[in-house]
């Protein structure tokens, strides 16, 4: 150690570097502000290796790439094809259906009778031995490796510079279950699952048209997850489709585990208050949108699909609207909008009247408020904010705990805590009623993300009304309307078909069942005449 280093060390001016620090990166110390700049994703190295024609070399490659020394999932099974050709079967245990591998790959291969002279043994095996539906010959090592990681099985033969890639996938997954978050009284009950294939099947079962396309592609994340773009080729707007594909192709991220991540990466306004795609877990709803020319994106491992483009009115509609008779559907939709409006405005409006415009209240109403608040020690604005935050707390707690306990928390929070708060003079009964009404209205909003946005916007309105009465509330409302007017989902204004007006189904009044199922020229600009 140099003299100066020793001196600084002795005087305590420098910290001796620890042998290992979690914050250190390969590129050095993090930035002063926590490395706000996003690290560029390292370009994936292109693997141009080919499948070797000797199985020993194949085994070596596989052992190296899949780290068989520390990875017990990898199965490398050597066998002799038809008693003559050395072969190697590679797959990931747990990802494949072992019964298919044993009965239709290994068993058939071992007991096969090979002809005397075969120029291409692999082609012969694919045609005559492996009794598997999806079986192809692959020469690129990279593709073989990806297939094995996806749950397929690769069979290498001595002397063949290709591998037989057999689809024997059979990993465990949740089956088709009841849609948990979008329940309906009348209508199908099943929801999407985490399996991409199953989800596509659920859609195909409902859309039996030859123009229904489901393009599979890599999602662009380093965990090699698959995504699917589903649409009707003959009617979908090609510009919209190109835009969706462009945004999906631009994804470059470490991990893609949920469709929510994909939604955030692909949307233009990253910090928008409102969702820019419609997320659903109901196959019937997704199918209805596909039939109208919308584009649906599915992701492996996600029981939700994204529908694009979307609008405020689509987010405010429920799958059940279409299953009800037109007058009932219209009425329900109207009540839903009323609920959303009450949820958003009522607390702020009440605060504005009680604090700044007492003259607008009747003397009876004013007396009731004063009487109910006579022992409450906080100001009415603070009390409202406190109650709204408590409501959010109860809601979050109810969501994150298991089903029956969640319901209990809702009841305990709503009744017991409310009563206790009134008894302890922390809140007044009038305000509690307002908050409960507002909360109830909030639950009328069908889309979960929109629900959350509304619940926090209402807090903003309360603060505005607290500060500036009806004037500030009006200004806040105008600003939110102005903001909403500029949000776009894949080029479609968020307030369509109200502003701009299109010929789409009325946002509030539901059309009759016959007209409903006629595709109108609307904001998706579908291909005409189909």
């Amino acid at each position: 150690m140099r003299f100066w280093d020793r001196l600084f060390d002795m005087l305590g001016f420098g910290n001796r570097p620890a042998p290992f620090e979690l914050l250190e990166t390969e590129t050095g110390m993090p930035h002063f502000f926590g490395d706000l700049r996003r690290a560029r994703q390292s370009a994936k190295k292109e693997d141009k290796r080919k499948v070797p024609d000797r199985i020993a070399a194949c085994e070596k490659l596989a052992r190296g790439d899949f780290r068989s020394d520390i990875n017990p999932d990898l199965i490398l099974r050597r066998f002799i094809l038809g008693g003559r050709v050395n072969a190697l079967c590679v797959y990931m245990t747990g990802m494949v259906n072992e019964r298919i591998v044993n009965d239709f790959v290994l068993h058939d291969a071992m007991h096969a009778v090979l002809p005397e002279k075969t120029p291409d043994m692999l082609a012969y095996a694919l045609e005559n031995i492996f009794a598997v539906g999806d079986a192809v010959a692959e020469a690129d090592w990279d593709k073989v490796r990806e297939s094995v990681l996806c749950g397929k099985c690769a069979v290498f033969l001595d002397g063949a510079a290709q591998a037989a890639v057999l689809d024997v996938r059979g990993y465990e997954h949740r089956g088709v279950d009841v849609a948990q978050n979008e329940k309906v009284v009348r209508g199908p009950q099943e929801g999407f699952s985490e399996n991409l294939r199953t989800n596509i099947t659920l859609l195909r079962r409902l859309i039996r048209t030859e123009d229904f396309v489901c393009q599979l592609r890599n999602a662009g994340a380093q965990n090699n997850i698959k995504t699917a773009i589903a649409y009707r080729e003959s009617i979908a707007n090609q510009t919209l489709l190109a835009e969706v594909k462009k945004r999906l192709a631009a994804i470059d991220t470490d991990a893609m585990l949920c469709i929510g991540t994909m939604e955030q990466i692909t949307e233009r306004r990253k910090i928008s208050l409102f969702p820019q795609v419609l997320s659903t877990e109901r196959p019937d709803r997704a199918a209805a949108y596909i039939m109208q020319g919308y584009i649906v994106v599915l992701l492996e491992g996600s029981p939700f699909v994204n529908i694009m483009p979307t609008t405020l009115f689509a987010l405010m509609s429920s799958a059940e609207d279409d299953y009800m008779r037109a007058p009932q559907g219209t009425l329900v939709r109207f009540v839903r909008f009323l609920g959303a409006f009450v949820s958003l405005i009522l607390p702020g409006y009440f605060i504005a009247l009680a604090l700044h415009h007492q003259g607008l209240l009747s003397s009876e109403a004013l007396n009731t408020i004063i009487y109910s608040r006579r022992m409450v020690y906080s100001s009415i604005g603070a009390e409202m904010v406190f109650l709204l935050l408590v409501f959010q707390l109860i809601r979050e707690a109810g969501l994150r705990v298991p089903g029956s306990i969640g319901q209990a928390i809702g009841i305990i929070g709503g009744l017991v805590l409310g009563q206790a708060a009134i008894a302890a003079n922390m809140a007044s009964a009038v305000l509690l009623t307002i908050v409960a009404l507002s909360g109830l209205g909030n639950f009328c909003i069908p889309d979960y993300q929109l629900q959350i946005s509304t619940s926090y916007l209402r807090l903003l309105f309360v603060i505005a009304a607290w500060l500036g009465g009806l004037l500030a509330l009006t200004v806040a409302l105008l600003i939110i309307i102005g903001y909403t007017a500029t949000v776009k989902s894949y080029g479609v204004p968020f307030l369509t078909p109200f502003s701009p007006k299109t010929f789409a189904k009325g946002p509030l009044i539901r059309r009759g069942v016959i007209k409903q199922h006629h595709r109108a020229t609307d904001y998706t600009n579908t291909v005409q005449g189909k």
Binding site: H357, G359, L470, L471, T474, L478, T486
Partner: protein, 372 residues
């Protein structure tokens, strides 16, 4: 170029134009001048709107004859770069003044009726916040916000006019017509000059309104709606209040129900209607502010509208503050001058561009014939 024009539909453009015109007519009315010699507002105000629409259609016709794409092209083509730019600046200044006048009246009344104990600056702050935010988003945001609030504003106006229907008395319109023909004509011209810049502004947004045909239909539709709306409101006011009562009344629409509903729930809730009208006036004001910035940029060759918007917002706030706080007399003087002679800065360029373009066309036709 960042002019934030975007694309808007016909419904949006009509809504925003009606809101701007109706707000100016209803809320920035100088009651002392308007009702001094009797109530004739229901005659001269709609007539002024109709005249401005006709003038707008005339300019539109001139533009189509000369191949000018928008107002800027017409002015530049007819008057040259400098004079055309100056004429555009005059229209821009008129728009800013209209905006200031609208909010000056509205905020004064809001302060007097609803927030008498609050500071005037605070009211300006809140309203300007909304106006600036909406104008900042460009024409798309302004027009769509205008359309979103239009049903609510329309419904409230309808209720406001229907509630005192039992109190409507025809004799309150006496004396008819209330003023001399010359007096009515002068007031009519005054309204015409107030409306013309707004119509001219719409003629500048050919691209945003998706073509020349929609611009024409927008002006006709909006003009008709504003004509009916303003006439209904002024007629209702005339049927409820006498001209003498109206002369010394600020924002008569706010007080239309007061005579009838001496007590009860409606009387208490009528202040809410002021805020709903404010919701209609703010997009209208934002349109005027944006129009000022847009024409300013077109006149000076600016490629980004944001600096002009900031300048416009600051200027507007200063005018509103000065009006209330310090330079009251000066403001009154300037307002009087603009009211009387402001039109002179707009009308001659419009007329001149008409004539010059037609002369150019004639000359071109003569050269063509000569060549042939």
């Amino acid at each position: 170029m960042k002019m934030l024009e975007g694309r808007i539909g016909r419904q949006e453009s009509v809504c925003i134009l009606v809101q701007a015109m109706a707000s100016i007519c209803i809320f920035s009315l100088h009651t002392l001048i308007a009702y001094e010699k009797g109530n004739t507002t229901y005659i001269w105000m709609p007539t002024g709107i109709a005249l401005s629409v006709l003038a707008g259609l005339g300019v539109r016709w001139c533009m189509s004859r000369t191949g000018a794409h928008d107002l800027t092209a017409l002015y530049r083509g007819a008057l040259g770069r400098i004079l055309g730019g100056t004429s555009l600046l005059a229209v821009a200044a008129a728009l800013l003044w209209q905006c200031a006048s609208l909010f000056n009246h509205f905020l004064s009344d809001l302060h007097g009726y609803v927030f008498p104990t609050s500071r005037y600056g605070a009211i300006i702050f809140w309203v300007m916040l909304a106006v600036a935010y909406i104008a900042w988003g460009g024409l798309e945001r302004i027009a769509r916000t205008g359309k979103c609030v239009a049903p609510l504003v329309g419904f409230t106006l309808l209720i406001t006019l229907l509630l005192p229907i039992e109190g409507y008395r025809l004799y309150r319109l006496y004396p008819f017509p209330g003023d001399t023909a010359g007096g009515i004509l002068m007031l009519c011209l005054r309204c015409f000059v107030q409306m013309l810049p707004v119509i001219l502004l719409t003629l500048s947004f050919t691209d945003a309104l998706q073509g020349e045909k929609p611009v024409k239909s927008t002006i006709i539709l909006a003009g008709t709606i504003a004509f009916v709306l303003v006439m209904l409101v002024q007629l209702a006011l005339g049927l409820v209040f006498t001209a003498e009562q109206l002369t010394n009344m600020n924002m008569p629409l706010f007080r239309i129900n007061m005579n009838l509903l001496s007590n009860g729930y409606y009387l208490r809730q009528d202040k809410v209607s002021v805020f709903i009208w404010l919701m209609g006036a703010v997009p209208g004001g934002a349109y005027l502010l944006y129009g000022f910035a847009y024409l300013f940029c077109k006149a000076t060759g600016g490629r980004n509208i944001r600096p002009a918007l900031i300048t416009g917002t600051v200027l507007l706030s200063c005018i509103l503050l000065l009006r209330r706080e310090a330079l009251f007399k000066l403001f009154e003087g300037v307002q009087g001058w603009i009211s009387h002679y402001g039109g002179l800065t707009i009308l001659p360029p419009v007329a001149l561009s008409f004539v010059l373009q037609l002369c150019k066309e004639k000359r071109k036709g003569a050269v063509g014939r000569h060549d042939a």
